[in-house]
Amino acid sequence: MRPELLPWFVLFLPLAAAVIITLFTRRDRELSAGLSNGAVVAGLILSVIFVSWAGWQAANPESTVNWLSIGDLSVQFGLRFDPLSLLMMLIVTGVASLIHIYSWGYMRDDPGFSRYFACLSLFTFSMLGIVLANNFIELFIFWELVGLSSYLLIGFWFERPAAADAGKKAFITNRLGDFGFILGILAVWAQLGSLNFATLQNSLTAKPEALGTFATAIGLLIFCGAVGKSAQFPLHVWLPDAMEGPTPVSALIHAATMVAAGVYMLCRVFFLLNVPNSNALMVIALIGGFTALLAALIAVQQNDIKRILAYSTLSQLGYMVMGVGVGSPAQSMFHLSTHAFFKALLFLGAGSVIVALHHEQDIWKMGGLRKKMPVTFWTFLAGTLALAGVWPMSGFFSKDALLAQAAEHHKYGLFALGEFVAILTSFYMFRLVFVVFFQPAKAGSSAHVHESPSVMLWPLRILAVFTVIGGFIGIQALDAKFFSPEQALLDASFGEQLIGPIIHEKLAAAVGLFAAVLGFAGAYILYFGAVSDPLPQKLGAFSRAMRNRFYFDEIYQRYVIPIHESLASVADWFDRWIIEGICVGSVRGGTNLAGSLLRLLQTGNLQTYAFLFALGVAIVLYLALR
């Protein structure tokens, strides 16, 4: 078998699992889970085999089939094998495998077990499609399918109104982003005549002004897709609600992979955003930075463990988008990769806590967990340290690289913003750790707490390992080489990678570590040993605003959505009264009127008829004879 076919198997095995489960094995829970897990683990193994055979830069970068071909429009269905997609393929299959295994334990008692795994496999298929796609429309197809999987999984417990509403909100908000995205794709095709990434990149290298005056507009339209999928401001409102889904879903979709798809897409088409006469990158950076700040502020006052992590994800996504905006996609991808590890770890750890406390999610009702759930605690702590950006965790290296690049490109405002957000990140994460794990045990729910089963613990351990070593296994070098092949990066040794950032980027490293320590100190002072949140008294209304997510949902509900609804009402009124009422009504009424008038001629009187008859004859004779 030709090795180029391996990625096709990686892509389609999860789809096959999903189809088989839906059609045939719904009743057999273990078989369904086995199929789904098997598909994704096999995908991981095949990915590893492929990468070790073909290397990171495959000799034959694409493998395609003609999907739709009409005149100028040529849409392929193909896979692209360059370092970016291969790296993502490994990360997606790896993290997805761990989460599939974890779910086997987490969802064990749920009646919809088989359906869960079918949807999860569908998601895996769609996500792999996004990272392996080689042209815009294929990317868009999988983009939408990922949205579908997200809808199905967020609304998994569909009998709960909150879950069903959250699924609908997620899909429609994503659709708003996709609306801009498809317009951007249409514009790119109209200007450059192709949809294939490689062809587009070549066209733009040959002729950088090819996009003309539309460069900024096109860049921003394409960014709309990322705004929707990666939940940037102003379409960030769906992600926290998405926590209604099961926790492994939150880990996989709303932390590690799907939301990262937006960032991946921006990096994939960076060459479209980076054209000379485009201001798109500046807007992108600002939105990313703003989202990071907004989300971090909201996270400080959230009390649901999953919401805190959700806003943390939003904030980190803001970082990544900001990274792309300042012109360093390599570092964004690096942060994306490390974030996948530690955020998935944090979510799975949260899941472990939630299940141990019988689905309690309020952090103020938790306690006494440090001693009773040691594995969960230590892995969670590892994830927190990484997220806060403490050396030598992977998060330190990626965050540091990102912010250092911001400083290098002279975007000091964004650098300062990023460091401030780092303080907040450290603060709210340690707040979380102190309240959840260090609080004294409460009576009742915490009494029967015990550690989770191994099927849930092993993924935590494996992710923790990657969280620790992720900074120096070569991801950064890979990304850097992909994006700036001309900069000859020496393959750094292990030690070099470990200490490198501290030596080469002193400012960023120092400020970053200081920010982490500052946040830790603040959290320690306020929250270590606290039984209730002291901030509301100190900050008053601001704290209330943070807790209420700065009222964005309410603003949208009260002011933005009604605009569209009123347009719909006007259309409905117009249809009912003007078109149906007046126009069709007048035809109807006119016919009726004419009928009634003509009816008056029917007097029933014989003599009237005779008279009219004679009159008619006279007129005809007159006309004939004149």
Partner: protein, 520 residues
């Protein structure tokens, strides 16, 4: 007998046969109807698969002269455009026959009318003679009147049946005037469509006559297809119709007008087309955006489905208005995809009505737990309706967007909004209220589709949507050559439009990289 002939006449013969079957043999009647439509469908699949894209002429042709003096002959044949439509019509007819189990009184008359309607539709799509084209369409339209009037539902069904029949008859009449004007204008003494096409290519009508005839055809056929603002018959009509009639009408018969425009009006009246198409694009927007908005406000599921169906017609009109290869091809794909989708949606609505006696969205809730099969199919239909990839509608819609962007970029923006956002809003809201959430007590006696016969029509329609969604080239490869001919006919009086944009030409010349070679 020629295979196309058999496809058309099999239902008609079955209808005649049923008149002799005594009224009480209900199983026999149902069996005959299903068998006849199944045969037509199977043969339609056969000719679809055997259709050869490379041949330029019509295939599976049968011709027999009828009235020599006027040039009328019975001429049927398929080319890339109508082979998909015949397939779709036959499959939807089979699904409609399966769904007819819910008709419980006067089955004999119902099945006869259903079979006559099927024969008419298939004949209309396959016909290559203008006279029989119109004749078969009227043959399919008249049974609608009777079916909605007798077996319809709702208090306004009498009004609905009169409205739909008279409104559509007016449209057909306006179109007939146009067709006769076309015939007289040609002066070729023939109703045969291929001959007329050739005739008009050599000596086209002068622009004034075209500007007079084309609007007649456009608005006449447009009324048949619920072009905005002539769309108000659709929601009430489909809401009041019995399920199989709604499936056949919304899915198949509605496409006749569009097919007529593509087959007759566009190639033969290019100047008229170029003149009027910008207006059509705006009207298409009326369908897509305006009717989408109205759909958002509907409280009755069949009205929502009706307005959704009208909205999808906007895609086809937009594709036609673009007057380029991509647009027209996309338009035909949308026609076929929407045929399956509309049939599916109305089939589901009919199932729910039969179980619950009402289609008010608020009366339902949490159905997914109680009716898992129907619920899943409904979710699939909802996502197909808002253009999710994997279903055939996406392939058509995205192609129409590309085609329309070339011609009217600003309108396409609004059209995308209508398609992507508005469509998702009303369909997902309906799903949320009807299928999700806690189970509504009023729905506790609803029953899922249990045996294979009940499930079959839905499975068939969804499978067709998925097959054509994953492999759109099955359709587009066949449609493209013919669409190219039409575009050439349209552009024959105008300066030629370059087929490749200048940028890609320059890029292709400048960088002969191996990547480009791979793409070829």
């Amino acid at each position: 007998m020629a295979i196309l002939n058999f496809i058309i006449t099999c239902p008609l013969i079955a209808a005649v046969f049923l008149t002799f079957v005594p009224r009480t043999f209900r199983t026999v009647m149902r069996g005959v109807a299903i068998a006849a439509t199944f045969l037509s469908a199977a043969l339609a699949v056969k000719i679809f698969l055997q259709f050869q894209t490379a041949l330029p002429d019509y295939q599976f042709v049968y011709q027999r002269p009828w009235v020599q003096a006027l040039g009328i002959s019975y001429h049927v044949g398929v080319d890339g455009i109508n082979v998909g439509l015949v397939l779709m019509g036959a499959i939807v007819a089979f699904a409609a026959a399966c769904v007819s189990w819910e008709i419980k009184d006067r089955e004999k008359e119902f099945y006869i009318l259903l079979l006559v309607m099927t024969g008419g539709i298939l004949g209309a799509f396959a016909s290559l003679d203008l006279f029989f084209f119109y004749f078969f369409h009227e043959l399919a339209l008249v049974p609608t009147f009777i079916m909605i009037g007798v077996w319809g539902r709702g208090e306004r069904k009498n009004y609905a049946t009169f409205q739909i029949t008279l409104y559509l008859s007016i449209g057909a009449l306006i179109a007939l005037i146009g067709l006769i004007a076309l015939y007289l204008g040609a002066g070729a003494n023939s109703f045969d469509i291929p001959e007329l096409e050739k005739h008009f290519q050599q000596n086209p009508l002068d622009a004034d006559k075209q500007r007079f005839i084309f609007p007649l055809l456009l608005f006449g056929f447009g009324i048949l297809v619920s072009l905005w603002p002539f769309h108000t018959w659709a929601p009430l009509g489909y809401g009041s119709a019995p399920t199989p009639t709604a499936m056949l009408h919304a899915g198949v018969l509605k496409k006749f007008g569009l097919y007529a425009l593509i087959r007759v009006a566009l190639p033969m009246l290019p100047a008229g087309a170029h003149n009027l198409m910008p207006l059509v694009a705006w009207l298409a927007l009326g369908n897509l955006v305006y009717c989408g908005w109205v759909a958002m406000r509907q409280k009755d599921f069949s009205w929502l489905a009706g307005y959704s169906s009208v909205a999808h017609m906007g895609f086809v009109f937009l594709g036609l208005a673009a007057l380029n290869l991509i647009g027209i091809t996309g338009a035909v794909v949308v026609m076929i995809a929407h045929g399956f989708l509309a049939a599916l949606t109305f089939g589901l609505a009919g199932y729910l009505y039969q179980q619950a006696g009402t289609l008010q969205i608020g009366e339902f809730g949490g159905l997914l737990r109680r009716l898992p099969f129907i619920g899943t199919i409904m979710i699939m239909a909802a996502f197909a309706g808002c253009g999710l990839p994997g279903f055939a509608n996406f392939a058509g819609e995205v192609t129409v967007f590309f085609g329309a962007w070339k011609a009217f970029p600003k309108l396409t923006v609004l059209a995308c909004w209508g398609a992507m956002v508005i469509g998702a809003i009303y369909l997902l809201r309906a799903v949320r209220t009807m299928l999700q959430g806690p189970l509504n007590e009023k729905c506790s006696n609803l029953v899922d589709a249990a045996n294979p016969w009940r499930k079959a029509p839905f499975v068939i329609l969804v499978s067709c949507l998925i097959i054509f969604g994953c492999f759109p080239r099955l359709l587009t490869d066949k449609i493209q050559p013919r669409a190219q001919e039409i575009v050439d006919a349209l552009n024959s009086n105008h300066e030629s439009i370059p087929s490749k944009s200048p940028i890609i030409q320059a890029a292709a010349d400048a960088t002969p990289s191996p990547i480009n070679e791979l793409q070829k």
